[in-house]
Symmetry: C2
Subunit: 179 residues, 2 copies
Amino acid sequence: MNSEPDTRPDLAMDVPPDLRYAAYARERLAAMSPPADAEAFALAYHLLQLAYLLVTDLETRIHRPRGLTLPGFRLMFKLWLLGPTQPVRLAEISAMSRSAVTNAVNTLERGGLVERRPVPEDGRAVVVALTTEGEAAVRDAFAEQTRREREWFTCLGPAEREQMTALLSRILRARPADL
Amino acid sequence: MNSEPDTRPDLAMDVPPDLRYAAYARERLAAMSPPADAEAFALAYHLLQLAYLLVTDLETRIHRPRGLTLPGFRLMFKLWLLGPTQPVRLAEISAMSRSAVTNAVNTLERGGLVERRPVPEDGRAVVVALTTEGEAAVRDAFAEQTRREREWFTCLGPAEREQMTALLSRILRARPADL
DNA sequence: GAGAAGTTGTTACGGCCGTAACAATACTCA
DNA sequence: TGAGTATTGTTACGGCCGTAACAACTTCTC
């Protein structure tokens, strides 16, 4: 494979392959007829790609080495803030299915990080609660995750970070009603 | 989604549970000592949450009803733009593992949407190519996905959409070197 | 040339997630 | 009260994804 002893205008110096593809796709779509929308593609693509890279990075760098997963950590983090909580409520605030919560709790319970407790007033219900080790694990992982998130976002200034959070919030609040 | 009779300072009107949780978590973190970072949390949370909702929505609304998946569609879309391509290159531009590509290609091949072709010059290699039905499927799904993406982003003006794409691009280009 | 080293694609395994179906329990309202 | 309905949690199944191991093949190096 030849690499790159070429005469490029030094724009694409160290542009990673996913961004090179995105730029190419955007050009192609811009030359297409109306159903295509190069701007919508670019926005959606960059959003999903960044989320994917961030998730993968946090998972492999922070959580897997500690025997956790990112979804498992996020669930524990919620329990840390909220205290013992029913699975149905965890599913609600995560916009996830109840079965996904069941699966995650099963994995965490196997690891001794979380436990299920019956609810006296309701024979169907259960609350999930952090164990002592679970709380220690979530504190530790939280510090590391925060450190890593800050690294990801250092390329933006404080105003830009706030701006981005605001834009994301706007879209989330205006989400299509028929989800 | 026209006029907004919702300019009241009233709290928690129709704020969905995930955003209510985010606001609560942000407050709690803002009151914690330094390792915690409410701003970093809010940015990362909103980013990941939006990506998750968008992925889920596109998957269940556009692709599953047509017998596709979002990852399957995204792979086919790349093949549509790039033509027959080796798995290793698809993995590269998707920042995915080779085995993930193998799995996706297996599923698509079972559905007759994609086919593998040997490469004469290299006995190890294979190229993946759209079949005729695959190309028809990707064209159709692409039009629908674009329509839906535009719906998601209509709450932003053109300048804001460009701004957001630019901010996402900045972070992606400046991604930590040690991924 | 021949052996070492690298590349490519695949498989096995485990975790995540959704849908659909189910049992157990709670609620509704004639 | 009691039948019908709704909610809660779980399981089964299939798709996605990563890591690790592997076979087949290519390329490098002597």
